[in-house]
Amino acid sequence: MPDNWGFVIAAYAVTALVLGAYWRRLTRLERNLAARIEMINRSRETLPSPPKPGHPRPKPASRPPLP
């Protein structure tokens, strides 16, 4: 039987292509996800803190002393 090296090379090339493509997909997904998480964290830091409920009360040190 002839050796059919072309088929052997094709089989190994397809294997490398499929496994390589999946590895690249995971790597790209990881990069995109890390960037999105970083963006969310940064936007959380830069946003002003939400107002607290209730009427603002001065701290004890800022109150005038009782007569």
């Binding site: 039987m1 002839p2 050796d3 059919n4 090296w5 088929f7 052997v8 094709a10 089989a11 190994y12 397809v14 294997t15 499929v18 496994l19 999946y22 590895w23 995971l26 997904l29 990881e30 996800l33 999105r36 998480i37 969310i40």
Partner: protein
């Protein structure tokens, strides 16, 4: 965790390199088929790794249904993806091997048909997860499909005994004595180890990504 994943990746790369050396440098030319038989060193390990991945899907799906464990659900999802990738490699390399040996790229014999059914079941499993927005419900439905899909793997294995097919009966996973010389066995086992390491790397990486997704982007 990330260090373990990196170590797994490097071990898999070294294993694949060793597997290539074994397949092309150490094993002799097969007498009947010639060098085209070397396709076996990727074709057979790929299906074994896919079987293991689908077994992981089964166990993790049962765990998810019993304990409502999000970790088990993520593991099942990651293992299903890896299983589909390796089964895809098995079907593609089998088709390439079929042309010079059988004279056809594809035929509807029992082994090829049953493998295609398993492939479609797990592609369906992944599609099902994408189609349902509610993560909890998607995990539950996928777990049921992951459990129902597992018995088909047994059907693939016995298909060559139950029906008269073009595909040869197994020379490796066969009851009784093996029909292959030890050096060919060693090449198959080495490539299986390399593919298993690569699959573990894929599953660990994907599981971590799914955890990030769920924790950071609820």
């Amino acid at each position: 965790m990330s260090r373990l994943i990196r170590v797994l990746g490097w071990l898999a790369a070294l294993g694949l390199l060793a597997g290539l050396v074994m397949a092309f440098g150490v094993t002799p030319r097969e007498v009947t088929q010639g060098n085209v038989q070397r396709i076996m060193y990727v074709h057979v390990p790929a299906v074994w790794v896919a079987y293991v991945a689908f077994a992981v899907v089964f166990v993790a799906s049962v765990a998810h249904l019993l304990r409502r464990s999000a970790g088990a659900d993520r593991l099942a999802h990651a293992a299903a993806e890896a299983g589909v990738v390796f089964l895809g490699v098995n079907i593609a390399t089998g088709s390439i091997w079929g042309k010079p040996t059988w004279g056809t790229w594809w035929t509807w014999d029992a082994r090829l048909t049953s493998v295609s059914v398993v492939f479609l079941i797990y592609v369906g499993y992944l599609l099902l997860r994408r189609m349902i927005d509610d993560r909890e419900r998607a995990g539950r439905y996928a777990a049921i499909l992951g459990i129902l899909g597992a018995p088909n793997i047994y059907l693939v294995h016995v298909s060559v005994y139950w029906w008269r097919t073009l595909h040869q009966p197994p020379s490796l996973l066969k009851a009784g004595s093996a029909t292959m010389p030890p050096v060919l066995w060693a090449a198959v086992l080495l490539n299986f180890a390399a593919f298993a390491l690569l699959s573990a790397y894929f599953v660990a990486k994907r599981t971590r990504l799914l955890r990030w997704e769920q924790e950071a982007l609820p």
